[in-house]
Amino acid sequence: MSDNTMEGGQAIIRCLENEGVEHIFGYSGGAAIPIFDALVTTETKIKFILVRHEQGAVHMADGYARATGKPAVVLVTSGPGATNTLTGIMTAHMDSVPMIVITGQSVSWMLGKDAFQEADIFGITMPVVKHSYLVKKGNDIPRIVREAFHIATTGRPGPVLIDVPKDISAGPCTADLHAEMDLPGYRLIEGVDNDIILQIAEALSKSKRPLILAGHGAMISGADASLKAFAEKARIPVTNTLLGKGVFPETHELALGMLGMHGTAYANKAICECDLLLNIGSRFDDRILGKPEQFCKNATIIHIDIDAAEVGKMIQPQIACVADAKTAIDELAKHVPSLETAAWCRHLDGYKTKHPLKFKRQGSLKMQHIIDEFYKLSEGKACVATDVGQHQMWAAQFYKNDSRYNWLSSGGAGTMGFGLPACIGAAFARPDDLHVCFVGDGGFQMTFFELATAALHKLPIKIVVLNNHYLGMVRQWQELFYEDRTSGVDLEGNPDFVKLAESFGVKGFNLRRPGDVKRVLGSALSYNDGPCLINCEVEKTDNVFPMIPAGAAIEDMLIDPPTRKLEKPTGST
């Protein structure tokens, strides 16, 4: 080999360095050994984090990206190592999270012959990636890595998979590491159509009851400051999606908080009563539409999205604007004066007073109480990861987010097991910040083994296990819509979570009484020797409200527990 020849695996590591990668989350195995070897032989500064399951690695990379806006990298082996990443890739894809997943693969000449640990991961993941590669030549590595990062991080972001046969990672690569990209079909949206901006401004000037719906797209585009300036100048109230938490300060006087199935009553009322809806970077997910044909029926709908395929997919807007959210808002702000919305805002304030989010601090211990207290003790400044279920919705309701990158939650996929690894990933990215993970007893048990990763690296994370001994969200549906016929939701046999934590070297606390909430959370917050876990024995059969049954119109929102029998929901899960 000549001097400038390196092995494929070494080229991969050098290319990752060039992309500014600082962490790789992963798990080793035969087909990936040359790449793992390159981590040593290149003497790279990239830190490799050995997880306990490949799904954990992907969720960590996901949490890392959501907490920073920067892509992270996953490195795993072929076959089962690769297929274990699938749920995590799908989760990232649904929520437009940038990520590079590198999988080892059997040697090229054995592909298609059912070699040991050969899985067609390129084919298996095709529907859940933004793009993917199977590397066929060592000299393609620099171009492919460069393209992968470009694709993952631009436009509407998403995961990109690179499958690397072992003979390629072990074979030579002589190509220039700063290769040209070859992406003739990938064009990014630039600028914004000024005529459309003027149309939007015109529609806004006629509106008496305008409303901004801020989604994840606004967050991704870094539009938070622009959005705040625009909403304040134009005096337009703002509601946000689950993934939009933090793109507009939820404690702002113009903020209505989260809308949708378990959103605030006032946000959902605003949706019903607005005469103009300005959707900035939300894909009109079914969790916020209720019944699509009835959604904002009497309002002018404007949709700003960088992904043309989202416009008209669920809702046909009167004005469509395919553009980057920040670019569009900045342009729009130039043409929109302060609007006469005082009466409308007062009206909505009335709803805030009449239908606040509420819970009882007395009686049994409530998840809401714990989350609310944590919010206060942490002054709303924690980076919050959640798992999926009732606790997730309550965390969304009671942990207000005033700034971006502090809300990590699986929205589109609703992936149980996401919370803990996502929190860990975020803690690697931002070691000096406070990290909390609100997780159910069900979801926690899907990825709790990553306690080892958290303990080993002494990450400053607070793991709040909201333990209702049930798959609570499913139980809630069974209670409300299936005459309380519980089926497959009783988590009989839960371990002692404090002992479990301690066995990993993680400090554990128990919290059982409402009167102890402040004290126990206070102790957990002042604990500063790595991760700690708080097992909270909460009310077993509490239900999340407000609730819009899936497929029902937003007008049919249940603000309080229903007194009548409910029909089975017609919408998707």
Binding site: F122, M126, P184, Y186, A308, A309
Partner: protein
Amino acid sequence: MTNSEKVIHTLSVYVANKPGALARIAQVFARRGFNIESLVVSPAVDGNFSRMTIGCSGKPDGLEQIIKQLAKLIDVLHCIDHTYDQSVMKEMGLIKISVDCEGRSEALQIAEHFGCKTVDLTKESMILQVVGDPAKIDALEEMIRKFKIVELVRTGKVVMSRGQKRT
């Protein structure tokens, strides 16, 4: 809408020759509830690219979503719906019929009317080759049915825009 009246849309897709491109395109149709009725892929003038003509059917309101999802694929340069734009649309068909000397002259008469070539002839059978727009091949098929059609193979249509318009 009955099956016979269903609209078959004609899409042209201009795509970079990258591994997996065809699979990704096929997945868009499968996942979003559209059927591929015909598919023709061939190299473009620039050998780094391919032309696809896809005949497809499904719910009318789904087509726009299909086109956008195709255009969104990293390897797709553009995707155009030619269903209603008077483009040139051609297809070739081979039809093997079972015919003896008694019926042969009538079969040849029909073939001539449709401008077919007889590309194989035996005592009991003949193969007709027909080129034209898909409706013409349908019509021939209808007429020649009075003989026993042993086999029928169609290439699927290819499309090209007229004049200055791009395909």
